[in-house]
Amino acid sequence: MDMFLNAHFIGSLLQSTLRVTTPLLLVALGELYGERAGMINIGLDGIMTLGATVGFIVGYITVNPLLGLVIGAVAGSLINLIYAYSTITLRSGQIINGMALNILAPALSIFMFRQYFGVTTKLIQGTVIKPICVPVLSDIPIAGPVLFNQNPITYLAFVLAILTAIFFNKTKPGLDYRAVGEFPRAAETLGINVIRKKYIACMICGALAGLGGAYLNTCYIGTYAEGVVAGRGFIALSAVIFGGWRVRGLILATLLFGFTDAVQLRFQTILPVIPYQILAMLPYLSTIAALFIMRNSGLAPKANGVPYSREGH
């Protein structure tokens, strides 16, 4: 085993962890903005799919993956308005509307993609945003590849995470924002427009989920296949709860998932005697185990998932 415990192995393992983590972190941050305003959105997987598809198509047509990323985020934000209208204005159930998005968005995606490309055996190859490799620094053992050879969006995701933490904990608008998810009625009496805040929350959530999806096909890999999201939205959703609705917890939760997923892929080659189906359980089981040990619940926004009305009903 010790042939694997060298600097190169660890460095590349951690590098892989960050790659796997990036989309999860982006989407989980989006969900955090949603849930901090009391909006649980189970439709993240669907929004990601739409973001991935739109992002890829735009990136392919314009040969500009960055534009793809942006439009993917816009598409995610727009489709989430259906959820926003139905849950905020009409006050229907959040879970069921999220589920509807999970059916609607992928179906729309497939439809659009096939209208444009048709059905082909060869996967369409687009352009990707390449990782930034800082010369010299990236040659440092372990820390080099991890810190100085990553995709720009990975850096963006972590910067966004830090900014989000500052926003929620240190700024007045952030505290107001949190009040919407904790005590909406009190927030309203303080002059905060709760309904508007909730709409904004849904747009941010949709945009980040769309961005996370678009990352998959404009940064991570350059091809598009139906089903490319592969359940990442649900993992991001669980990371928010696992992370105790705090940015720090959320980073740890997504990193844990990314790390165990990278580890299980390596175990498949190091320990071929263990069936891969068992190894593939590792990310899910370790998340449950970590939850069990940390048991940080009670931090949920108090009005999370509760429909809000001004009339006091």
């Binding site: 069921i96 509807a100 959703l237 939850l291």
Partner: protein
């Protein structure tokens, strides 16, 4: 007319209107793809009701959905989100398959019964995990049950490509013929499992609305924070609600295996859990309502299958229509609950009575 009766009429008519509206949207989509709407919908109806085989196929499709929907109803009524019905469904089917494809302690129907009981128990055990973790460690049951879905699916994959594999084919050995659920009509696949589903539906309905325990459960579900005063009792209730929910899903998995699929392979049970939750919510969290909506879903899917085959309209269009139906159905029910709309409706009722 009693207020209650009026409310029921209102709810039913609102559901009907929203479904009609969604069908209208579907018509617009179909027309925009350049197909004849009436022909397409004609095929949809024919596919679901055209002959004995079609009607039977719809029931076959509805059966597992009824189980997972009931599982969701039961958990929701106790204020718990069970998003893990898929995993419990799969675990139930795994246990049933293990009994009915390898061990045969009894002959015939006794063994079928045993398979179903073991299946329900396995589902219950799998359901107990999120319930226990919620009650005693405070873990969010939604995410634990979602994560356990992945684990169950992988475990099933491990079994059908490992210990329970049939020769070299990644699927489990087919169950013995005399364990299979009897088919009801010649030329149709409809099997006795539908009676099990209806039975569970009636029992669940009776339990939730006619017994003291059921009442307690619903009280906990309506206001878990207030009920928390009782501490331990509530915890027990949470766990047992999850266990029962899991047992219903597990039984569903066993019935699906014994009545329809006969063996496990890739894709077994996929999506049934989330479908069940959607159905339960559209069915107003009432067992009978859930049963009816499950049937409606089955009608739509069987019909859509025929429509797609006969007209060539892509399945993604059918999926879009389905999502629109869900959105409209929940939006419409939500609208009548809005205070303003409620006031208007009440005024109208009064006017009608005068």
């Amino acid at each position: 007319m009693g207020i209650r009766f009026k409310n029921t009429i209102l709810k039913v008519s609102i559901s009907a209107i929203s479904i009609l509206a969604a069908i209208l949207i579907g018509a617009i989509i179909i027309a925009s793809v350049g197909e004849n709407v009436f022909v397409a919908y004609g095929f949809l109806l024919r596919g679901a009701f055209g002959n004995a085989r079609a009607i039977g196929e719809t029931i076959v499709k509805a059966t597992p959905l009824i189980f997972t929907a009931l599982a969701a109803v039961f958990a929701y009524r106790c204020g718990m989100f069970n998003l893990g019905a898929e995993g419990q469904f799969i675990m139930g089917a795994i246990a049933a398959s293990w009994i009915s494809a390898t061990l045969l302690p009894f002959g015939g129907w006794l063994n079928t019964l045993l398979s179903m009981i073991i299946g329900a128990l396995a589902g219950g055990v799998w359901g107990a995990i999120p319930g226990l973790l919620k009650a005693y460690r405070g873990l969010n049951e939604m995410i634990v049950s979602i994560l356990l879905n992945y684990v169950a699916t992988l475990f099933m994959a491990f079994l059908y490509s490992g210990p329970l594999m049939e020769k070299n084919i990644p699927q489990t050995v087919a169950i013995f013929d005399d364990v299979k659920l009897t088919r009801l009509i010649e030329g149709s696949r409809v099997h006795t499992g539908i009676f099990v589903a209806i039975g569970v539906m009636i029992v669940a309905s009776y339990f939730l609305f006619k017994t003291a325990k059921g009442y307690q459960l619903r009280v906990v579900g309506l206001n878990p924070t207030a009920a928390n005063v009782n501490g331990l009792a509530v915890k027990k209730m949470m766990v047992s609600a999850f266990v029962v929910s899991g047992m219903i899903a597990g039984l569903g998995g066993a019935v699906e295996l014994l009545g329809s699929s006969y063996r496990l392979m890739a894709g077994f049970g996929l999506g049934f859990g989330f479908d069940g939750v959607a159905i339960a919510l559209i069915g107003q969290l009432h067992p009978i309502g859930a049963g009816l909506v499950a049937y409606l879903f089955a009608v739509l899917r069987t019909g859509a299958n025929t429509m797609q085959i006969a007209t060539g309209i892509t399945t993604s269009v059918v999926d879009i229509v389905q999502a629109v139906i869900i959105i409209f159905a929940v939006a419409a029910t939500a609208i009548i609950a809005l205070p303003g709309v409620k006031a208007i409706v009440n005024r109208k009722w009064k006017g009608a009575e005068q």
